[in-house]
Symmetry: D2
Subunit: 261 residues, 4 copies
């Protein structure tokens, strides 16, 4: 065949395979989203439309790879997808996995944009980078997810204070300086005393981030013969907002990580 | 800080760095495009609108990474981007590079769709996988590009025969069987004798694929003082269709790979 | 400094790090030992002196890396060293670990040769290659060790039959052919009926391979004051020969893999 | 087969392949040689016996892998082996290559010890770590070798000054402090003025390190018929001491790196 003289160049390709029997986390991350968010006038510090759009993109990714993704967690412009320990997706080839996830997320972002921002034109299509990380134990994976949720909390508390201060007339530099020495409790107090905000009453979506997984949900169906309505519990893919650092969530949903409850 | 207890999980991350002083090729590839193309009724074997859209996405990627990408070659549902030997893009981190390219390509595909398919709604957003390959010498890189252009030729000739046979009433299985034993010259002859097609007269875009690079172009500018028009040669990013297997193109454009001409 | 102009070449170096929190197995393997063994007239199928030498080399490696190696298993010309999940040895850099193990094993092989082969000069120094493999769970690690011990058993049974047949006058080709269709029980029967050998009575070192780990051992010490002898149990590094496929060994020695017993 | 249930553990193995068409440098390095050298009372700053032993080990490695190794350079307790761009050794598997080199070097070190240190018993067998680095161009490779030879020069000049100062009665701390601010020319002057040493007259082996490669050598052979002696030039593996930073050596030996001279 005419092409065969050149085919030796395929030998330069290499496929990194993710270690077997490890949890795989694929974290997708908006590229230069700081700027993207400014260009599109997102509400600060949290724009519910933007987060809903992120969640919808993540849901699409979860559905597309429903055999593999068992859990997803999103905050800000990032989303982490947890693939089951024994996933055979693309034979665990790292490059295939991360590029498929990042590109599907990005193309959905553009595709779904107008549903969440009906009055605002998308000025340019964004990019999302992605990486895959292997975690050998469920404890390591839980710690990863805790790390992201703690990060969400820390950033959100900070950002809320920051934007309230800026709204109230402080310059950005002043706000930064003011917050630079504060602890969590100081920020809670500042919000309460100065702005009358009880942080604990802020929406869970903002404070906890978004979780996508199959949870038990009541499903009501009419029995075709008797006409009676029956309610059954089924596991359904849902976006939920709750704490995943403590054990409660995982004890209530032992099927997700397949742990003995 | 509250998150610090979990931060050890970052140690599980690893960054593969692409070998220094090698040409880097990032090849982006449509995922399951066979099916995508059917769903959207692309013209077989080549849909100019689809190829133009691919080219426009690639152009956007080239502009976004204009410091690094020195050449791009596309055919069918794939595009290869050549990064300069000394690129510092993302410190040559493989995962960052391939996910940024694949996701930017994919988001542009959706963003630009309606410009090329004004009458056809995009049914679902596609994914593109990507890989990066290092080539130590310019000869290896040229052979890579020759491999892809030879592949384009081989596939295009085959596909043209195949679809002409199907159009003419053969079943798909018959067409496949008929072509399975043919050489290039047989296919040329079949096209000419049976369908009156001179393959050499088919559009270069189909036969050669698409090339994106800076080529010398005449640029005419009116002198503000004298009002006279002046034509100067400038290197401009363009899509061109031509042979890149032979030396001619590279001798005429020695700046692309920075070879001594 | 004079050298600085060239120091950029260090950027081409890369360090692959073994995934955290995984068991690491370093398997050292004699290079072309078939030939080495022939050159030095080893007794077939098992030369106790050769195996004792392997064990002594492995012991030296275990002592040299006593903080990290928790278990070692040897058979024939190979030795597997198990590093603890949390080992920080050379910051888990793969190249450092495998080359240190292989070279220390090889240099000890030469150094200790004359102790085990006092009447036989070493004709040439051997090489040992090595590889590192990560195992995320204790189950995977146990299965790895079972795989090696099963391999030891299978090879040893085969080799015993083979060499007995050759001793008895069969050609090597005849012996091979005769054994090619036999199952384990056939081989046991052949040994018993034809050569009066009860395989189960063969030395455990040959049938089970060699294990190096800390086991509970009685240690007797004279009390300096009272002059009375006291016996205490202590964990001591030992070579033992026993089954490690079943649970018994691991239940008796839960400290090795730090499992809850 | 009995073992098959466990064989899945092989899937956890991975083979990193060194990039094709790159020069491969395998650098072997004595582990904790500072201490080893003290234990064996090596002469400071250079012990010719020790360097000769290193060279002999390297020669053995070169002979063992004569198809692949085209050049070797040694200084102090390290040796760099250059493998040809197109070497197929172990299918370019990194782990196989570096462990074979490190272990063969180490086993030879013990094997050959008594030839170079006939009056001194080897107290313990040393380990050598190793790494492999890919260099895409001959320029990169030449710069690597220049880097090592510059390093040799810098260290040797420093060490000579240091040990002369210590011999002359300075404490180690004083010597270190005294040298910490000196440039090359200061050290040359110190040697000359204080110790009457012209550094340029020091043995080339110490100042330049050791090179192993095939060089043109006269070979005299008696013609069997005529009884006349004939001298012919042949390329023979030799240890030589000379500058490899400048172009002279490489111009005189263009066959080594297969460059057009």
């Amino acid at each position: 065949m005419a092409g065969s003289r050149y085919e030796y160049v395929k030998n330069f390709e290499r496929d990194e395979v993710l270690l077997h029997n490890c949890w795989v986390v694929v974290r997708v991350d908006g590229r230069a989203f700081h700027q993207f968010v400014d260009e599109h006038d997102f509400i600060k510090p949290n724009d519910k439309r933007g987060l809903d759009l992120m969640n919808e993109c993540a849901l699409e990714v979860c559905k597309n790879f429903s055999d593999c993704v068992v859990f997803a967690y999103g905050e800000s412009d990032e989303y982490s997808f947890v693939l089951s320990r024994d996933t055979k997706l693309f034979n665990r080839r790292q490059a295939k996995i991360i590029t498929s996830f990042s590109s599907l997320f990005a193309s959905n972002y553009v595709f779904l944009w107008s549903r969440f921002f009906p009055d605002k034109a998308l000025k340019r299509p964004p990019a999302f980078d992605a990486r895959a990380v292997c975690y050998p134990t469920t404890e390591n994976l839980r710690d990863y997810l805790s790390w992201r949720q703690a990060d969400c909390h820390i950033n959100n508390l900070y950002n809320l204070c920051y934007w309230k201060l800026v709204e109230s007339g402080k310059s950005r530099t002043e706000a930064e300086k003011l917050l630079s020495t504060t602890l969590s409790q100081d920020k809670n107090e500042l919000l309460f005393k100065q702005f009358g905000i009880n942080y604990a009453h802020e929406p869970e979506m903002f404070r906890k981030g978004s979780i996508i997984c199959k949870v038990w949900a009541d499903e009501t169906k009419k029995d075709e013969k008797t006409g009676q309505e029956k309610t059954r519990k089924k596991r359904r893919l849902r976006v939920v907002y709750c704490d995943i650092i403590g054990d409660k969530f995982w004890k209530e949903n032992p099927e997700i990580l397949n742990e003995e409850s």
